[in-house]
Amino acid sequence: MTMGIGGAGSKLAFLYDGEATIVNVSEAELSKLPAKNRILAVVHSATGQLRGSRKNPQIGREAFLSIKREMLAQICGNLVFSSTGGGTGNGITASLLDDLAHRETVPAGEKTAFVLLLPYAKLEPAEFIDNTIGFLRGPLSQAIDSGNTGNIFLFTNRLKFESKLSEQDYNAALIESLKVFMAIPRKGESFRLLDGHVDYEDFDLYLSKPYFNHFTYFHYDPEVDFQKQLEANLNPYLLPPEKPIEALFLLEVPAGGDPTLFYDILSHFAKDNVTPVYSVVENPELDKPFVTVSLLYSRKPAELVDDFNRVSHAHTQAKVRKSLEQHVPLPVLRVSLESEAKRQGKQQGADEAEILTVLRRLGKL
């Protein structure tokens, strides 16, 4: 089962799975999607139920308390979608991660994989960046350290803003990309197996590992070095990967194709002491080999936070500058140290001359 938290998370989850459960603090937001399963997180102000969380994760955290038991029961072994910039997604997901981080152990089959959508720091509001920094630095970091989460997919809005895509198109492309990766066990089951094996159980076990997951897919050319092909085809929707700790790939070859192509891919990973889980199948619909590959890597959240911090700092400076320009008409003060020194010297000389004049006037000299 799939769960989407907050506005962005709900849209993604519903695109991925029409049976997804969506969660929000706003009834109006919940009703925008024709999802069958909806959970309204209750959070009140003096004027009644809030209709949003004002980009404030604290509101999401308070709202989580009203649905904690229901959510924790539903996320076991499932996939949770959320954005890290807003208030609801960030706050509720952060609370979920806090809860997971403080458990002793979570069995492999019950681990939750998280699909997180990060803001594009250059163009999205500063609040989104600040919220994301807090999220990466705190709850996500602790949850990864605890080992109680499954894979974490770090999607980014970078391509959306750089290519000026509509949200609908971008989300659809992002979800299609995720579906290609998630289809690995189904393809393993439905196509003729040529080598290796990745069944549903293997795939679930892989998904339950507490690392960041960068997956990608491309037509594989056995004449070109695999590393070069991988670098040229990194998934543009995800943050770029670090050196892998574990890997998984599915190689689909056309009917009558060479079933031994995968050895070159294994050799590539062997250089990094990684032994991938893999499967080679025959896909009669293809005319060229096609590979779907996933890299599990550990990336310190501090490194991600550093990237965000740099942009956040620039945002803050720009905000202060704007505020000054708009509200405080400060004249530009030009100080010439040379002329100021001359003025001071002259002033001092005047005082001295005056003292002597006074002393003479008083008849003391």
């Binding site: 001092q348 005082d351 001295e352 003292i355 002597l356 006074v358 002393l359 006037r361 008083l362 003391k364 000299l365």
Partner: protein, 107 residues
């Protein structure tokens, strides 16, 4: 004796200079400058925090015959002497210290 006078002036510090200056200014403005005014000014400029130090500065100048301290009514007013004028002149020409404003004289 000139060397003695020079050595005496060399030994003066900023507080002494300021007292000589303020006393001169006060006299020029027909005002009376007393030990309490002196303490208030030195304190507001953070040169001293105690009245004893202010009194010591005044006493040193009096001992050197650079000032006269006269009991007038219930005040001990300070007046610069001819020696004090020469000492102040020497300090001014030497540019030993910068002039600072007296709160009493500014009001």
């Amino acid at each position: 004796m000139e060397q003695l006078f020079k050595d005496q002036v060399d030994g003066l510090q900023e507080a002494h200079f300021l007292v000589l200056y303020w006393v001169t200014t006060a006299e020029d403005r027909k005002l009376r400058y007393n030990i309490t005014n002196c303490f208030d000014d030195l304190k507001s400029l953070r040169i001293t925090r105690t009245k004893q130090t202010a009194a010591a500065v005044v006493e040193a100048l009096r001992a050197l015959r650079f000032i006269d301290v006269r009991d007038e009514g219930n005040r001990r007013n300070i007046y610069i002497t001819a020696y004090g004028a020469r000492a102040l002149e020497a300090l001014v020409l030497r540019r030993a210290f910068a002039v600072k404003k007296s709160a009493f004289l500014e009001v």
